[in-house]
């Protein structure tokens, strides 16, 4: 479609303008403006005024005794949150997908639909179900069942959920329970599209299901594992709703369930006696931006490129 000498292609502009406008104004501009704002600080005497301070906010965030322990704690917690998802949620998803991909299992679509169910619920619901029904310290269902069969001495997640050492792990596992459907579906789609000939040939050669999984399916799934990994990474820095609904804005006990997003929310809007600080909030968003960009770049240039080299 490149005929020489034509009137200005207005129609292209008409097609592109609405999407570009909304996207630029409500997504790209706020992102860039937030990064810009992270270089400013409020002027002490004048209400609402800000002045340029360079990277001083970042320095404050990383060294100030009020902020530094919180931001370090939130980053460490976020990474723990990520690792639990990566090494519990994704393997469970892969296991279930492998079983669901087998043509001999009857009722696969029913299983698939039901196992995906928690993923479509909001965290307000998921938080309530776990916090108030299953893991309630007094009348939680898990406690009742554990007491009934006599394992409450060493299996007490309702207690761990309130302890500093275990709260984050319990929160992560609740989130795993909700989101296991996503890696499950991605792995399932990849497994179903694997070439049948390879697996058939291996079976004819006498390979067991176990051998086929480790030696054929898993290597062919590497690209999907990469995508699932990067989605888990980005999604995990978005995690906010669960901690906020279950543990509140303070991410207790003693900030042990504090993630970057809850820290951001608290700093930006303020809590209890501390008033909100938009520029520090923007600075936290800036740090998050760098971490997420770093993760995505690592995936694009480290993982995906090496993969291409192996394939060809």
């Amino acid at each position: 479609m490149t005929p020489a000498r034509r009137a200005f292609p207005w129609h292209i502009l008409v097609f592109l303008a609405p999407a570009c406008l909304v996207y630029t104004l409500f997504m790209i501009y706020p992102l860039l403006d937030t990064l810009r704002l992270s270089l400013y600080a409020p002027v002490p005497e004048v209400r609402g005024a800000v002045q340029f301070v360079g990277l001083a906010n970042y320095q404050t965030l990383l060294t100030d005794p009020l902020y530094a322990p919180r931001v370090q704690g939130a980053i460490v917690n976020n990474f723990e949150f990520f690792f639990i998802h990566m090494f519990v949620q994704n393997p469970i998803g892969l296991l279930l997908a492998t079983v669901l991909a087998s043509q001999f299992v009857y009722g696969r679509s029913v299983y698939r639909t039901l196992i995906f169910l928690p993923t479509i619920l909001s965290f307000v619901l998921v938080g309530f179900i776990w916090n108030s029904i299953l893991l309630h310290p007094q009348w939680g269902v898990v406690r009742n069942i554990a007491t009934e069969i006599g394992i409450q001495g060493w299996f007490a997640p309702w207690r761990w959920a309130g302890e500093e050492s275990g709260a984050l792990t319990v929160m992560s596992l609740i989130s795993v329970w909700q989101y296991v459907g996503i890696p499950l579906m991605l792995f399932l789609a990849a497994l179903v599209s694997l070439p049948d000939e390879l697996i058939e040939a291996a079976r004819v050669d006498g390979a067991t299901a176990w051998g086929i999984f480790w030696r054929i399916k898993l290597p062919l799934l590497l690209p999907t594992i990469g995508i699932v990994g990067v989605l888990t990474f980005v999604g995990n820095f978005n995690a906010f709703d669960l901690i906020y609904t279950v543990k509140g804005g303070l991410a207790g006990p003693n900030f042990t369930t504090d993630l970057m997003a809850t820290f951001f929310h608290r700093t930006f809007f303020g809590f209890q006696l501390q008033s909100g600080n938009p520029t520090m909030g923007a600075t936290i968003a800036g740090v998050l931006f760098v971490i997420i960009l770093g993760g995505v770049m690592l995936y694009l240039f480290g993982f995906q490129r090496r993969l291409l080299r192996v394939e060809y």
Binding site: T2, F15, L16, L114, F116, L117, A202
Partner: protein, 296 residues
């Protein structure tokens, strides 16, 4: 083909790789695994729904029992409280408006942009495509600070329009990405034939839309769930009573009615009904959307 050779039993693979398990045992194990996981996934949700239909006494005497509500324990009191003494119907209306408007705008603007990107070769096409796909990876929440300021300046704080615009901006990148890959697959001849017949470019765009209906459905369902469930943007952009969405409304309701277990359980149950109904109807599109977004 090194991998293939090593699978054959001739290679010295460890015993567990040579251990053949009978088909029946394999199937039995598969069903046991799937059944127990299904129970783990669905059981807690069922527990919530079952207990929402019990009266207060039954809940307190036997908290969250698995038993179905029967003759003495059955009660709809919670639902009556929620539907009669709260603004839930209003929250529902708000959520429906936000979801429908955002989906419509995502599909409309997204398909137009995707059409332009896939149909015309103009300068900066690739660059624009790249620019529009940045948003797939960067979460829009990072821009919240400026987004609030922007909404204040536009006078959109505490309006449904603020939510609609944010969700539209957030949904566009993936929609454009997926839709343009589908539009490229529409045969050229079709469009050229229409052009020969004198159809305008807008007419051709309208002709293509029905052809990619499955992709449009996929994008719609894929955006529906996160928009319905979102707590962050309703919390920061539209938290006043007349514009609360169901998700935020439920969250606040739980705080207010902390002692009225019937009402709390009922509000939870009501708030998940529409999403579950839609999920059951559209689960195939949803799964397709999930995979096409990530695999392509």
């Amino acid at each position: 083909m090194a991998t293939l050779a090593s699978v054959s039993p001739a290679a010295r693979s460890p015993w567990w790789e040579r251990w053949h398990v009978s088909r029946y045992v394999q199937l039995g194990l598969a069903h046991a695994l799937l059944l127990s996981y299904t129970l783990l996934a669905v059981g807690p949700v069922l527990l919530l729904v079952i207990n929402a239909f019990k009266n207060r006494r039954a809940i307190f005497e036997n908290p969250y029992a698995i038993a179905l509500p029967g003759d003495p324990t059955f009660s709809m009191a919670g639902f009556e409280t929620v539907l009669g003494n709260s603004n839930f119907p209003l929250y529902f209306r708000n959520s429906v408006i936000v979801v429908l408007a955002a989906l419509l705008l995502i599909l409309w603007f997204g398909s137009m942009a995707a059409f332009a990107l896939s149909e015309y070769e103009f300068r900066g096409n690739t660059l624009l495509g790249l620019y529009l796909s940045i948003g797939i990876m960067i979460p829009i929440r990072l821009g919240s600070v400026s987004l609030i300021e922007l909404m204040v300046n536009l006078g959109l704080i505490n309006t449904l329009a603020a939510l609609i615009l944010v969700y539209t901006a957030n949904g566009l990148p993936l929609a454009i990405f997926v839709l343009s890959s589908f539009m490229r697959e529409v045969p050229r001849d079709l469009k050229d034939a229409a052009r020969v017949d004198g159809a305008s470019e807008y007419r051709i765009y309208a002709l293509i839309l029905p052809l990619i209906r499955p992709a449009l459905g996929t994008i719609a369902v894929f955006n529906l769930i996160p928009v319905w469930n979102d707590l962050w943007f309703p919390l920061i952009l539209a938290s006043s009573e007349p514009v609360k969405t169901v998700t935020l409304g439920t969250q606040v309701f739980v705080g207010q009615f902390a002692n009225d277990y019937n009402a709390m359980l009922a509000s939870m149950t009501i708030s998940m009904v529409p999403i579950i109904v839609l999920y059951i109807i559209f689960s195939r599109q949803l799964i397709r959307g999930l995979t096409s977004g990530a695999v392509k």
